[in-house]
Every structure is written in structure tokens, then in C-alpha cells.
Amino acid sequence: MDSDQPPLPLSKKLILFVVLIILWLIAQPVVAAQQDNAWQTLPVIPELSEFSKKLLQEGIAAGNNPHAFSKVGDCETSTDWYLHDFDLDDRYYNLGEYKEEFEPVLAFYKGSFLRRSLAAKPGFSAASVLSSYWIDYSNCAAGELPLTCEYNQHNPLVVLISMGTNDGYNPPVFKENLRAIITATLEQKRLPVLMTKADNVEGTYAINRDIAALAAEYEIPLWNYWAAIQSLPNGGLVEDGIHLTFYKNDFSDPYAWNYAWTYRNFTALQMLETLMNATKPWLP
């Protein structure tokens, strides 16, 4: 049947070939953009990889405190709005319908929520965490870095890393500095958890893309906070396009779910719950 059809003339074949090439060229940027933005569809709270679970086990064996987590980041991390209240009594928060779910998390990590991290400070870029200048001179020894000083003093098994806004000035250097933070953390058998940031100060999402790429490369958890707040007005950001909209920690108040800080702390507790459940089997 096919052999009965006359072959296409050469000129038509050529035209068909050129059309296919043009279609392929048009499709390339679209495919690339879809691949670039794939991180946006990743879940807010990930399943832990086998590598991550094994690291928790090895970290406990190495003497890291399974009940301690550290916060690493900038002003949105050093602020008391970030998890701090959950080490206070329940006048400071209301877990609402999540009380049963989260109370064990608060008990498990008690003391880490209100801890003032030595590796979190307003203005911090990823490089600042690794800078000998930025240590807390009253708490850290000469030669330490903010990151190592925090680890030496708090000895956490897991580390919540929320960085990138202050790297918006120069996104290309961010990835290597975050990589250095990750490797320094892994070397000490502590599990780094990377959070995507809410803003897009760099204009291209390059930083969140790098955060997601590094999480995948090292098989460490990606806490996709960005995805959690996209349905909020202005993406959960105040007028400056950087800082998160604030509301008190009252998960029973429907109004609270219009604000980015509610999601920040809520998803942080979800992330910690996942980590706690993966840690418990390895406890002595």
C-alpha cells in the first residue's frame, strides 16, 4: 500500500526538513524554560532520600544531638518571628487542629526554636556564613566561621538553611557559596535542609533554581517554601518585594492563612516533623 504512493519530490522534502528544523528551534526555549522552572512544582515538604536517612543515622553515631536543629540564614531567619515562639508557652501560639500533630515536634526539638543562631544575621549572604569577619566576637573563637561556631556550640543533627535574598546582587556566586555550606555541613554528618526563598529579587529565579539543583545533587531535603505561598496576595510579600507578610502564630485563625509567616512556621514544623520521624528509629 505504502509503496504505491509516489515519493515526495526533493523540493518538498527540503521544505519539510526546513519546517521541522524551525519547529524544533522554536520548541527549544520553551522546553528549557519548563526545565528551568521544574523546581516550582516540587512538593513543599519532600520525602527524605535514602542518603538523608542514612546521614541521620550516621550523625547520631558521630555524636550530633538528634534533638537539636540549627537555623542558618539572613534577617528572615534571625528574627524572633521564625519558630522562636514555639519554645515559649502556648500563650504565644495556637496550634489549632494541628495540636496533636505538632506537640511531639515541639517536645522533640525543645530548646532549638528560640535559640539565637550564630549563623543567622540580618544582611547575611551565603558568603557571610563562611566569612571570618561575621563571627559573633563575644561567643566564637578567633579563626571560627559563623557556621562552624554555631555547629560547635549547638551540635545540631539537622540544619534549616534559608539563604539567597542578599545574594540577589550577584546570583552566579551564590551556588558555589551554598555548596560550600552544604559540604561543610555534610562533613560533620549533619543534614542540611534547603529552603526556597519567597522573593525573586534577582528577577530570574536563578537562586531558587540553584537551591533546588543543589538539593537534588546532594540528595538532601528541599523545603519548597516558595511553592507554599504562591496563592497569597503578592506571593506573600510586603510592598518591598522581599519581606514576608506577618501574622501571629495562630493556626486556628482562618485569617492567619492569608499571611506568609503563618506558612513559614507551619511548613517549618511540617519539615521538622518529617525529620523527627526519620530520626526516631536511630535513637539509642
Binding site: 540580618p122 544582611g123 549572604s125 558568603a127 557571610s128 566569612s131 545574594d167 550577584n170 557559596n177
Partner: protein
């Protein structure tokens, strides 16, 4: 006789003056990369690091400069002197501080306890750590 004495003293003074001047030039050259490093932090012109840091410390130097990119900073009461030096290496100490501000928060970074190592690399003095 008197004239030769005058000539001798004149030459001696000239020698001392040029000797001192030469020493000053050497220490100025050794201090320069340290001063340039701090000026780079303040001006946030990270591309300058290529002409300031030695090859083995360049990556760290970029990181230290990048660490201040999120804040506004200035040098306060800043001056440096050479503490020890050889033909190819020197130690430079400085007085003063970096005053960095972020919003309303001001943080001071003292630099007095740092011994800045400078080395001669390809004929140029470069900062090589502290």
C-alpha cells in the same frame, strides 16, 4: 679638610634620607594590597580582587568581599603598618574597623587582631590571608 668633612656629612645624610625613603616605599608597597582589600569590601567592587589577592587565597578573598555585599559599609579610623618583613613576605597589622549597616542595625568588625600576610608574587605584593 673642612670642605671634605661637609661633603662627607652631606653624603651621610643623603644616604640616610634615601635609605629611609626606600624603606618607606617598601612598606607602602606591602601595605597597599591590605588597604586595597578593605577598600574593595567597602566599595563592593569585587572584580578588584584579581589584582589584590595572591593566587592561592583569591577564592577566600572573593568570599570575604561577597560577605559584605548585602550591607553598606565604611572603614573607620583605618591605618596599617608593617610588623615584620623579608624580601618576599611581610606581616601587616591594621587599626580601625569596618562599620557595616543593614537597615537601622550597625555592626562593627574590628580588624586589629588580624595579622595580614602579604607575599611578593610575580613582582607584585599581594594579600595572601590573615
Amino acid at each position: 679638610m673642612k670642605l671634605s668633612k661637609i661633603f662627607f656629612f652631606f653624603m651621610l645624610i643623603l644616604l640616610l634620607v634615601t635609605g629611609c625613603k626606600s624603606g618607606d616605599n617598601a612598606s607602602d608597597a606591602q601595605i597597599k594590597p591590605v588597604e586595597s582589600f578593605y577598600n574593595t569590601i567597602v566599595s563592593q567592587q569585587r572584580d578588584q580582587i584579581g589584582t589584590i589577592a595572591c593566587a592561592s587565597w583569591e577564592k577566600d578573598a572573593y568570599r570575604e568581599v561577597d560577605a559584605f555585599m548585602g550591607v553598606k559599609s565604611e572603614m573607620k579610623d583605618f591605618s596599617c603598618t608593617v610588623q615584620n618583613s623579608t624580601a618576599d613576605a611581610a606581616e601587616v597589622v591594621c587599626k580601625g574597623k569596618i562599620a557595616a549597616s543593614y537597615g537601622n542595625e550597625i555592626t562593627d568588625f574590628p580588624i586589629e587582631n588580624r595579622i595580614h600576610k602579604v607575599v611578593k608574587e610575580n613582582g607584585e605584593w599581594r594579600l595572601c590571608g590573615f
